[in-house]
Symmetry: none
Subunit: 252 residues, 2 copies
DNA sequence: AGCCGATCTGAGCGGAACTTGAGGATCACG
DNA sequence: CGTGATCCTCAAGTTCCGCTCAGATCGGCT
């Protein structure tokens, strides 16, 4: 899960990067508003799920950065600042920030708030084409083709029969099942299921796909898309055009 | 724009209804969790855009209402409460609340926060809101598998036999028992049972789990989910199973 | 201060999960 | 039909993770 941290104080930033990294975020650190806006330009990489925006910089600047981000992107923004006065809070929220946290804050609470805005997902944005994983997570169990995926319990059943999966297998399936029919590229899968930008050297992904297929025993469900990645075949005849929320398949 | 206000204090409610009304909200006032869940059952009317949930009621109840709302609906929830401690904040946000505001709050800020969550919109929800009376209210002592957990007295008994637990052991069990079957991740356990922001260095969690298992002497009750966390195995064998037409919503 | 239970840490073990490599099957394309 | 790239399967390694035990540290109580 990628996160953009906008913070000019190197020490604060380093500490946050460390903690967030340990909690499974892949953090990009921008030292200025300019750099932040730059980083948010869609470039084919997995999009940022959250922006953590420190307003420590020359006063008003931070608000401006926020409204510029909003002008071009629907990514959730959390403002972090020492300015505790009500005016600033209201102003920040009205500019489009999703949350406003004042220093000193509790790290655990900040993490909880990050997760809270992240699970809401990004707003549809006029400019960027939403990538499949920008789709907010659906509540409740996923169900399709007789497969039931319960994310909270981490359990999967096929036609009522319980299928025990390992961690990678489950994460893999949960990712693909998020948008059946959509092709997930290898790099994308790696960055979601494995943490950090490490790309598997060997046949790692194929092996996991293999054992997933074995356990589910539903031939034809998980389809390899040669040279690109994998996808789930939905039961209903293809993905359906006129669907608002779900993204257009395979851009690029 | 419809808004659901859950608040048992008539005076506070009246004031809020007035202010919110002036700001363009059509407010429905629910006086209890039960009434709130009732109101959220889809009935063909315009759905609620936000739920304002006051936790003033008998202690734990509010959290439970929140998680029940979450079990069936993606509507944004803002918790409003006098409980300012970090634990409660994190707990509330982890249960799926989108924001957590403590009293006394500034009305302008509350409005700004309401607008902030409202513009994000609801998460897609796979299942419908459970009918309130279909869900057994789990008030008072938790009970499952012959274990009785009395949160108020902090006492636990197994098959009538009293089992003395230490603080950590009890908190751990109480957390897991809140939703048997659900997997709690390590970080979440740490943030709710330990002081916030603290991440266990050594084998702390495992040791406590170990001694909890020993004292309860119910093999198979506390299950480790490799690479993720722990969960309690519920007695009722998987509630999941292939459901007929009306999918019975997961309890929880 | 001294005691005692509670909590935390570190080392070692065992097993599950993950990774890798090689060979065979399959596909796209000329 | 031939060829190279890509994918799949199988069978080893290798790493990672949870469990346990034993000792250190913390903290409340007398």
């Amino acid at each position: 899960m990628r996160l953009l941290l906008v913070e000019d104080d190197e020490r604060v930033a380093a500490a946050l990067v460390a903690v967030l990294g340990r909690h499974g975020f892949q953090v990009r650190h921008a030292r200025s508003g300019h750099e932040a806006l730059d980083a948010l330009v869609p470039d084919g990489n997995e999009p940022y799920r959250v922006v953590l925006l420190d307003l420590g910089l020359p006063d008003r600047d931070g608000f401006e950065v926020c409204s510029r981000i909003r002008a071009g992107s629907g990514v959730p923004v959390i403002m972090v600042t020492a300015r505790a006065d009500i005016r600033s809070r209201i102003h920040g929220l009205n500019l489009g920030a999703d949350d406003y946290v004042t220093k000193p804050y509790d790290m655990g609470e900040l993490l909880a708030r990050i997760h809270a805005v992240a699970r809401r997902g990004a707003l549809p944005s006029a400019v960027s084409v939403p990538a499949p994983d920008a789709v907010p997570q659906q509540r409740g169990p996923l169900e399709s083709r007789g497969i039931r995926i319960d994310r909270e319990r981490r359990r999967v059943s096929v036609d009522g029969r319980d299928v025990p999966l390992t961690r990678k297998e489950f994460d893999l399936l949960a990712l693909l099942a998020q948008s059946p029919g959509v092709v997930y590229r290898r790099e994308q899968i790696f960055s979601e299921v494995w943490r950090s930008g490490w790309e598997g050297n060997g046949r790692t992904l194929e092996v996991h796909i293999g054992s997933l297929r074995n356990k589910l025993a539903l031939p034809g469900l998980v389809e390899a898309v040669r040279g690109v990645g994998y996808r789930l075949i939905p039961d209903s005849p293809t993905s359906t055009a006129a669907d608002p929320a779900p993204p257009a398949p395979a851009e690029h």
